[in-house]
Amino acid sequence: MRRLAWLSVALALVIAYPLLFSTPFQQRLGALVLLYAIAASAWNIVGGYAGQVSVGHVVFFGCGAYAAMGAYAHFALSPMVGIPAGILFSVVIAAVVGVPTLRLSGHYFSMATIAVAELARLIVTNTDYLGAAVGLSGPTVPRNVFDLSFISALPYYYLFLAILIITLGITWWMTNSRIGFYLRAIKDSERAARSLGAPASRTKLYAYMLSAGLTSVAGALYAMMFGFVDPESGLGILISVKMLIMAALGGAGLLFGPLVGAAILVPLEEISNSVLGGKGAGLTFVVYGAIIVLIARFQPGGILELINRLLAKLRKTERTAAQGAPHAP
């Protein structure tokens, strides 16, 4: 109950944010935080809950982005039409790639996903239908509201918020379903899970496909907001890395971990880019790298886990103080 109250307060603050901080920069920042939170939450299903560290999720992100822009560029349709198409493509790709790749464990899985992503980037860069190295553009001038091309970031903010809520809702539902229990068992020990009869391969594949579909929605939204996609912005390995880092910084395998990570890293990147200008691009990723190394070294569970631990400690000391237990000498 108390948890629900806290959630309502947080949601109210998130809804009010773009009205309280109403400069275009602040609204755009808010929209980007939510967008990356969607992508990182989608990654979290497979990387956090199932413990399969995918470094190739950008393939699905690119699927969505290219489907949305392709719907406009080739068929003059609203980019929105591309969203279901992108979901379909990425779920099919996830199924085809997932079957052999998910058999690999640990590092091998991560390396295979990197290779898949780089392969996809190279192939798209050499495919004229997908705009090769130049990429595809969306409508330059919105024809109607269904083009979802707005000058202000405000409509995007609420659109992304709605999708983020849906994504987190699906994740929450999944963790409390049979699949969620299987995933947790697999993450702890795949062999033990299998020996107790959990269908490990099938469960991992379902999680991978679900995660792929949601990631592609994030890609489509990204392309709509920026109005174009090219191999670097749609399929660059750094996008995979960002999803992974945001989830891990906040807390991989925790529902709100990715959102917390995005809320820290996106402003860091945007502010350092705007303060440092072109020089900042490199420096931003130096800081990113340093943060990941420090997280991996000192707090692999992420920030939320640290907070939970501190809260638990605090409660314990409160309780002992209330009971009047003597402090340790």
Binding site: Y108, S110, A115, L119, L122, L283, F285, V286
Partner: protein, 287 residues
Amino acid sequence: MSFVIVQVIVGGLLLGAVYALFSSGLTLVWGMMNVVNFAHGDFVMLGMYVAYLVYSLLGAGPLIGAPLAMLVLATLGVVVYFSLIRDIMKGPMLAQILGTFGLALLLRYSVFWWFGANFLTLPENVVGGTLDLFGIRIQAARLLAGIVALVVTLGLHLLLTRTSLGSKMLAVAEDSTAAQLMGIRPDSMQAVAWAIAAGATGLAGALIATFFYIVPTVGETLAIVAFVTVSLGGFGSVPGALVAGLLIGVIESLSGYLIGAIYQDIVVYSLFLGFLWFRPQGLMGKS
């Protein structure tokens, strides 16, 4: 025509020897500690930049640049081992992947920030021009790099199999608790492995810097080359890495020559996936 093919194959073998050199570093650490260094390609990239700095500041070629790069990177390897790897080795899988991946970003973008994204090259005459051997034209720089890499890789194999240091490292790889009971310190042996692995990448980087483009993101491609080599040669095997490295050098050169340079990476990546999917124990591993 046939001469051109032979020339392409020889070029591929020479480049492949360098691939084998830096991949044997990856395979050593992997086989010994079951840690995959995702920053391995960026270590090679650092070796290239050390060679570049030596040239641009001192005007010296690989004769000074290569040993210096080896030394700098070996030191870095030890520092990375003690400050990062030793701790994340005990942590969860996510921490291991994140740790070395973060290191990769840190190194890559520090160089990017300092040197910019421009393609740098060393002048072509830094190792002499082009040699003509029985009608096959080979750049002297490539010949030097290939031969040095081959010799050092073989030397590394001998070091691991024929010396007491090698036996100690093997003992730690087999069972570090048992090794500790025999009076071997796993910590020092693992640090030595990191020094050797990183030193090999530094040397390899300085060697290919004489004829390769130097750019901060080159490590990404080279890391995948190293992953392919190691997965092809079997995880933990230096002779496997040597054979696989030579093979990949040839495949890459031939596919670049026969179907076009833009498809050469596609061929290598597809090969990697094919191996991971269908034969994860490598070419020479037991099934």
